[in-house]
């Protein structure tokens, strides 16, 4: 297993001003993950490998990764260091007829060929949060096992959510919104957990997530409900992983990542879909597989890649093809955080390496 850590020096400097704390943290990170033979490279500066620098454009950066592999062989894990302003998300044509003009995606970075719906590399991104402390914190995180999970679902999707949550928690313990609202949300629900699962509504315009019962959409939670939280977050909400021009004050995903003990966030960059009832499909199915792989001891990045492969296989077996919303699901889900972290030990008993 080999890892490429990729960033843009100029863009990173523009975003967080002083990059020295990051470089120090990266140096320690690389030292502690020798088993992955990590290589750090900036796509916009010359390097000793003879790969020519490129501009801050998604296609060019993808080509840069490809050129790196031509020189040094394949990388299994790709860590994108920085948000959209440092390493742009791909803006892919939206296969669905909905309000999203494009689908923001990291899938092409995870794929070696033009068929980027199906990823080969295990890919994760550490957003910059416009703050070097935020980035350093992501590189220094470690999993604290608690053996407990928390799940929150819109009331109308309770049955569907129980099916997703089952690999990591007791379905009957899922909280529903309503009756839960932001005002009576208990901070302790998010503390000392291994997994935090959410199947609620989200909006690009709001820092809140929402429940549903019929035509009633209460505010289920907001950034201020997140205090001393822990675990891996898996969220199905629309725009759950949308970070463009967002901060930890107005994006739940960034607020979670700013927490010391939240080790990763898996979510959708755009409008996501799922069923109201089992069987699981779309976002439900993908997140269910993600949780299953984590529980089996795979890393964050492997779990999302493997979940996507299983999701595609299942969809093909069910219908014979990936339809528009299957394809969008494959493209829109990303994972933020250290790609090498595991919630459960690997088969070799390892947590990080």
């Amino acid at each position: 297993m080999r890892m490429l850590i990729l960033s843009g020096k100029e863009a990173l400097h523009e975003r967080i001003k002083d990059v020295r704390p990051i470089e120090k943290a990266l140096s320690e990170y690389i030292e502690s993950r020798k088993v992955y033979e990590p290589i750090l490279c900036y796509y916009d500066t010359p390097n000793k490998y003879g790969v020519d620098p490129v501009a801050r454009k998604a296609e060019a950066i993808r080509e840069y990764v490809s050129n790196f592999e031509k020189k040094l062989g394949d990388f299994d894990i790709l860590l994108l260091l920085g948000g959209d302003e440092v390493i742009p998300f791909f803006r892919l044509e939206n296969p669905c007829d909905d309000a999203d003009e494009m689908v923001l995606s990291d899938n092409p970075y995870a794929s070696r060929d033009d068929n980027y719906v199906i990823p080969e590399r295990a890919c994760a991104r550490i957003p910059d949060g416009e703050n070097s402390d935020f980035m350093v914190r992501q590189l220094n995180k470690a999993v604290r096992r608690n053996g407990k999970s928390f799940g929150l679902t819109a009331k109308d999707w309770q049955k569907a959510s129980e099916n997703v949550y089952q690999p990591v928690g007791a379905p009957e313990e899922l909280e529903c919104t309503p009756p839960v609202t932001k005002d009576d949300f208990k901070e302790a629900w998010l503390q000392e957990k291994d997994y935090l699962y959410f199947n609620v509504h989200g909006s690009k315009l709001s820092a809140n997530w929402y429940g549903q019962e019929g035509a009633h959409y209460p505010v289920a939670m907001g950034t201020d409900n997140i205090v001393n939280s822990s675990g891996v977050v898996a969220a199905e909400s629309c725009y759950g992983a949308y970070i463009i021009e967002k901060t930890k004050n107005n994006a739940i995903c960034l607020k979670f990542l700013a927490e010391r003990d939240v080790v990763g966030f898996c979510g959708s960059t755009t409008i996501a879909y799922g069923p109201a009832q089992p069987p699981s499909s779309e976002a439900d199915l993908l997140v269910k597989y993600f949780l299953e792989y984590l529980e089996q001891g795979h890393t964050l990045s492997e779990s999302l890649r493997n979940a996507k492969l299983d999701f595609a296989r299942k969809s093909l077996r069910r219908h014979g093809f990936l339809d528009d919303d299957d394809t969008k699901t494959m493209l829109q889900f990303v994972v933020y955080g250290d790609p090498t972290l595991r919630v459960r030990p690997s088969q070799k008993g390892e947590f990080v390496c």
Binding site: N115, T181, A215, V219, S268, Y273, A276
Partner: protein, 93 residues
């Protein structure tokens, strides 16, 4: 092939009963021919791809207001097979 209007009305009745928040919304109906996805099958090391298929899609869409007045686009997608049977219903999260 056009969907029989009676079949559409039947599906609408079913949707409005199960998802009353979409009651009164007129669906946008589309037909799509799905070509064999050979490259995807090959990349997943799966067998022979299925043949060309036609699917039909009924899209119900409306904007609602959450309790804090944030607008939320609600989309419900109903997928029908070549026999106009429902194969999948999903909604926006």
């Amino acid at each position: 092939m056009l969907i029989n209007p009676k079949r559409i009305e039947k599906i609408k009745e079913e949707i409005f009963a199960k998802y009353p928040e979409f009651r009164g919304v007129e669906p946008k109906i589309s037909e799509k021919t799905v070509k064999p996805q050979d490259a995807i099958y090959a990349k997943l090391d799966m067998g022979v791809p299925k043949q060309l298929k036609s699917i039909y899609r009924l899209k119900f869409e409306r904007t609602v207001r959450a309790a804090d007045e944030t607008p939320i686009d609600r989309i419900l997608l109903v997928t029908l097979d070549e026999n106009f049977e429902i194969v999948k219903i999903v909604e926006s999260r």
